[in-house]
């Protein structure tokens, strides 16, 4: 996310940064509007001296709308950054790996509800190591098993914190 300063001393925005900022601002504004609409259904307070359950969420949501509007205005007004120098360009990020990692985490959580920590975690660790470029299957399996056991020992045995058993084994 490095942006070279535009002529005149002002830092510039790359087109993709401008678009992302605008998308985020619009999403947050949508959340704020939804919060205000839902707060309209909150019951009025029974106490004369209270402001009720809706007052604070509405104040925060309105503040968010104002701040996002300022952000949108500033983002549209900001000058464009000159194109990146290919020689100084950072290595390209692998967003596919991030997406697979997030999906793998969700799958692990889903599986953990059924098969428990002891089965889901080593498979998850093994998969993530493979995803991150470690291709030695035997070593990965051993590391995954050891890490799973260490975490289990620290939480479940040493600190008596129960870990998910899974509905299949309950």
């Amino acid at each position: 996310m490095s942006n070279a300063p535009a002529p005149g001393g002002k830092a510039g925005l790359r087109p993709q940064d401008r678009l992302a900022t605008l998308v985020i601002a619009v999403l947050v504004m949508a959340v704020a509007v939804a919060a205000i609409i839902v707060a309209g259904d909150f019951p009025p307070t029974m106490l004369e001296t209270d402001v009720g359950p809706a007052r604070f969420p509405i104040i925060f949501a309105v503040a968010l709308l104002v701040l996002c509007a300022i952000l949108v205005f500033n983002t549209l007004r900001a000058p464009a950054a000159p194109p990146d120098d290919p020689a100084e360009a950072e290595p390209k990020a692998s967003y596919g790996t991030v997406a697979i990692g997030i999906v793998a985490t969700a799958v692990c959580l889903y599986a953990m509800e059924f098969v428990g920590y002891a089965i889901a975690t080593p498979i998850y660790l093994f998969g993530l190591m493979w995803l991150m470029g470690r291709r030695n299957l035997l070593a990965n399996a051993a590391i995954a098993a050891v890490l799973t056991a260490l975490i289990y020992a620290a939480f479940a045995i040493a600190l008596s914190v129960p870990l998910p058993v899974g509905s299949l084994f309950e």
Binding site: M1, S2, A20, T21, V98, A154
Partner: protein
């Protein structure tokens, strides 16, 4: 001097009880481990050990629990600095600059500074507890709902300081956090807000959100790095900070410890609030505030001394008035009563020997914390030498297990994952995560106390300016919020034109003018 004589007698008595000292050492070590593990807080550590104290003599039981308390508050800083996983909410502030120092290859110095600052802050707070207990406890009693509301607003005003490169984006993060904080039961009427019928959302699950925003988001970011095999070898070359470097932090540590002690005394305000307030004040007093957020040693020193200073403050009101300053001391209050001791002024009169032996033991606990902390840092630092392709999966597994450990709830883990994904995008587009966590901590405190204060004043808003402490805190809060704007105007005037961008003024790296 009565207190000093009693303390010396207490120290002598303590020397004759090697088992109590051994249990204190065990408590401190366990506390550091618990603090370092995500999801396990000092409160949980104390609660876990509480049943084991039933069969012990009062001194041994209370010292072991104090050891867990002190170690737990400090332990959170280790993983916050090394991995950006704040083991405890109090370490969330430490993670901001601590992890930046690790990325610069200065993890050893950061950890060493955190350890010494924790020791100094904690020790100072115990001395205050010994010598000033009755006077300060009376001051704490002045805090009612309106003062607590003002303190929360003051805490929230720090958002401007921890916003990083863009104050507007920081404020958006902060208000998003405040809106999130309203999810759950309404603090006055108990009406469920934005819960969608899920009872799990009746209390804002802010620790899962914190773990997700800081640790999981960082792990997801590691996944996009094509050079994942490399670890950060040799990052812990030096642990003891050079004297010339540490000497500059002594004033900062003294101020932060004092703030921590005062905040610790206030019921409802804990080490997390103390750490953020100390961070803000350190930045305000710093000659180089523009370095905060980019790996400033002063920030680590302030957060750690503030958070550990809080321990003595929280114990102070608990022991002298029976009012726990935070969740840990609430559990400790239970331990005290289980031992047949009634907190309050009579405790110091009827059980003076035990109380001063306990105080001497608390000082020893902090010495243990220093020794165990410094001794284990090099071992903990080996974590950094692990290849990222092993470390990242390990961090994610710890996030999952640590989150589950809080309430034994799978629902919390899904919240953590959602927060991790949101945190990843926030990090990607320069929206800081710390204001969200700060707002989740302070938001409920602000709303509940404002509405309580309003009820106490029969619906009149006069309490905002008629109560001196409230008025002073609110004024400082407004000034704190205005400071970045004033700095920017000052910089523009000094430079003689509006076009100059000064990083100190909080201008955006992405060039979003504010």
């Amino acid at each position: 001097m009565y207190e000093l004589d009693m303390l010396l007698h207490g120290a002598q008595a303590l020397l004759n009880q090697p088992m109590a000292l051994l249990l204190a050492l065990f408590g401190v070590t366990l506390g550091i481990i618990i603090g370092a593990l995500p999801g396990l807080t000092a409160t949980m550590g104390v609660a876990i050990l509480l049943p084991f104290t039933f069969g012990m003599d009062p001194l041994s039981g209370l010292l072991m629990i104090s050891g867990v308390f002190f170690g737990g508050i400090y332990g959170g800083s280790v993983t916050a600095i090394l991995l950006k996983i704040p083991g405890t909410p109090a370490a969330a502030a430490t993670a901001i600059d601590g992890y930046e120092l690790t990325k610069k290859g200065q993890a050893g110095i950061a950890l060493g500074t955190a350890t010494f600052s924790s020791f100094l802050g904690g020790t100072a707070s115990v001395f205050v507890l010994i010598f000033l207990a009755p006077v300060l406890a009376r001051f704490a009693l002045e805090f009612s709902a309106s003062e607590s509301f003002a303190l929360a607003v003051f805490g929230l005003s720090i958002i401007a300081s921890i916003s990083g490169v863009s104050v507007i984006k920081g404020l958006i993060s902060g208000f998003l956090g405040l809106l999130l904080a309203t999810v759950g039961l309404d603090p006055m009427g108990g009406f469920p807000r934005y819960t969608g019928g899920y009872t799990e959302l009746f209390n804002v699950p802010f620790i899962p959100v914190m773990i997700g925003l800081f640790a999981a988001a960082e792990a997801f970011k590691s996944l996009e790095d094509p050079q994942v095999r490399a670890g950060m070898a040799a990052a812990l070359d030096r642990i003891i900070p050079p004297w010339h470097m540490f000497r500059r932090q002594l004033g900062n540590i003294a101020r932060s410890s004092g703030l921590g002690i005062v905040i610790g005394m206030i019921p409802g305000a804990g080490a997390d609030i103390a750490a953020f307030v100390a961070y803000n004040e350190a930045k305000r007093f710093s000659k180089t505030p523009e370095n905060y957020g980019k790996g400033e040693l002063g920030a680590v020193a302030a957060c750690e001394s503030g958070a550990n200073g809080c321990t003595g403050g929280a114990l102070l009101t608990m022991l002298t008035l029976g009012i726990p300053g935070d969740a840990v001391t609430a559990v400790m209050l239970g331990a005290l009563t289980l031992q047949g001791l009634q907190p309050g002024p009579l405790l110091f009169k009827d059980h003076a020997d035990l109380v001063f032996t306990l105080f001497a033991g608390m000082l020893v606990c902090y010495v243990f914390m220093l020794v165990v902390g410094l001794g284990s840092l090099r071992f903990m630092g080996r974590i950094l030498q692990m290849p990222k392709s092993v470390l990242t999966p390990c961090i994610l597994a710890l996030c999952i297990v640590g989150t589950y450990a809080i309430n034994n709830s799978m629902f919390d883990i899904w919240i953590m994952l959602a927060a991790g994904v949101v945190g990843y995008f926030m990090q990607k587009w320069d929206f800081p995560a710390s204001p969200v966590v700060l707002a989740l901590i302070m938001g409920p405190m602000a709303e509940a106390n404002f509405r309580r204060a309003l009820s106490l004043s029969n619906g009149s808003y006069d309490f905002l300016y008629t109560r001196p402490i409230t008025a002073v805190l609110l004024t400082i809060a407004i000034l704190t919020l205005m400071l970045p704007l004033l700095r920017r105007l000052w910089a523009q005037r000094s430079a003689g034109g509006p076009s100059t961008i000064n990083p100190a003024a909080g201008s955006s790296r992405m060039g979003t003018p504010e």
